[in-house]
Symmetry: C2
Subunit: 309 residues, 2 copies
């Protein structure tokens, strides 16, 4: 155990069931990604090798899980949700590759393996990230994702918004500028809402988009995702402060040394833990209208705090 | 004059009319880009400033012109073609930003101004490129681009294919690997078909997609674009060999010094000029079924050879 978990308010049996479901999701998502990603061949094989190297670095596939689990609330065929989830994971992987670059976080390790620019080279890593970002839109726009082109356009537009300058990229920009100035608590929350939250939100909303569900459903799933994302980020920051390198799969204490803005440095460890727990409970509560169908999703925030996810 | 133009086989009056049309296109595309690009504000203003800095660096807007001119063959409303052209130009700008990075071509100047990573910094340049790539898909998927979501999905999928690992990015990968090995003539042609040609092809085909034109039209426009793209690339390489810095807007002779693979180094200057002229004639001939409606498009390859475009 990590030492960062707050008092748990989730049935251990539910957590166990969720763990099994997550393992299954990893297999399903990996199989889908393997099927749809290009295969290395010819003169530009190297960039495809780098794409696959980064994608199959052993991620938890949390974002695809969110799409699968929210789509399941509305009985969306799993194959469709898997394609969307795989597209989102490709985009998430691009963001990790570029964030790790020497000009960004300058990380040598990611999930215990050399980062893409260390395993290949910087130019190949930039290109592999670009290609994964491009690929994700190709997947979402493709006719096999959903029979309705209107749904597919909504997915493309939604992903582009979540990932763009007013979303994930904006959050990363704010994060980088933290080296030059100090942010207030609300500014840090905004940064994290953009950097991590926006893609979490889209991953959850995508299930409702695939189902052509109501605006109310979409808003509810976004609210769940916002709380979940913030709880996730606080936990990540806590691990950087109190965790061990093995568990983080990367150098710990690094964010602190780089003067990165985190809620943990503002709140202190105890208040940060309490806030993460409050967010987890709030997230779970948001999904109560879906009854037992939402059990896995409701357990997820607690598993994230537990950080065995 | 540049000294790289072959014997011209195009009416000077047509070239002059095309020049005026291109100037008008620059204005229209710039206005559209200014309208639809995000505006800098808030904590992440810097990345939006970098996006706009790179987009408004004074490009010729050749790719949007191709979309406008091919769309006009089928009487597509100009506003739709302008949006698609602006989206393509945003994507083209991302590729320039990333190609200029220190880990790629390491260029300090682009169109006579500091490159994005010199004007801002490397991290901001990477993010601005990422954001422009993302933005281009957002534009194409948006309902104002075309009433039919099926057309919009085709545009997104087509752009993603042209820009992805089997398109522009694959070509850039091959180009980078040229430092390590020597390519055959056909390999160089493949590299350039991917690196420059794929986006030229999509820019032309987009006019037909917007018009829901026939497969034959789409094939014809792609063939035109392939020849045009290769003629364009050969001219670019010729300028690097025989041109002057002022004209290129960047350091010349650099490709040669970096051992880059170009057809000019294989063919020699004279044969390269002749080949570019042959391609220009072939491209113009491909569009003869459209009669005088295609006059601007048919003059374009000759203007490119002339390099006043």
């Amino acid at each position: 155990m990590t030492g960062v978990a707050p008092a748990r308010t989730c049935d251990p049996a539910q957590l166990q069931a969720l763990r099994r479901r997550l393992e299954q999701t990893v297999d399903d998502v990996n199989r889908t990604l393997d099927e749809i990603l290009p295969r290395p061949s010819g003169l530009y094989a190297r960039v495809v090798e780098a794409m696959r190297y980064a994608v199959f670095a052993g991620g938890k596939r949390l974002r695809p899980f969110l799409t699968l689990a929210t789509a399941a609330l509305f009985d969306v065929p799993e194959k469709r949700a898997l394609r969307v989830g795989a597209g989102i994971e490709a985009l998430h992987t691009y963001s990790l590759i570029h964030d790790d670059l020497p000009c960004m976080d300058d990380d040598d390790l990611r999930r215990g393996r050399p980062t893409a620019h260390r395993q290949f080279d910087e130019a190949t890593a930039v290109l592999a990230g670009d290609a994964l970002l491009t690929f994700s839109f190709s997947v979402l726009a493709g006719p096999r994702t959903h029979p309705s082109s209107s749904v597919r356009c909504e997915l493309v537009a939604g992903l582009a918004e979540a990932a763009g300058s007013a979303g994930m990229i904006g959050g990363q920009m704010i994060d980088i500028l933290a080296a030059e100035r100090t942010y207030s608590e609300s500014e840090i929350i905004l940064m994290q809402a953009l950097k991590t939250g926006a893609l979490f939100e889209f991953s959850c909303e995508a299930g409702a988009i695939l189902a052509e569900a109501s605006d109310q459903d979409r808003r509810r799933l976004r609210r769940f995702a916002r709380d979940l994302g913030l709880a996730f980020q606080i936990t990540d920051d806590l691990i950087d402060v109190v965790g061990v390198e093995e568990q983080a799969g990367k150098a710990v204490g690094k964010d602190l040394r780089q003067g990165k803005a985190t809620l943990v440095s503002g709140y202190g460890v105890d208040k940060a833990r309490a806030e993460a727990a409050r967010l987890a409970n709030e997230a779970a509560e948001t999904l109560s209208p879906y009854g037992s169908a939402a059990a896995h999703l409701q357990a997820l925030p607690f598993l994230i705090l537990d950080r065995s996810a």
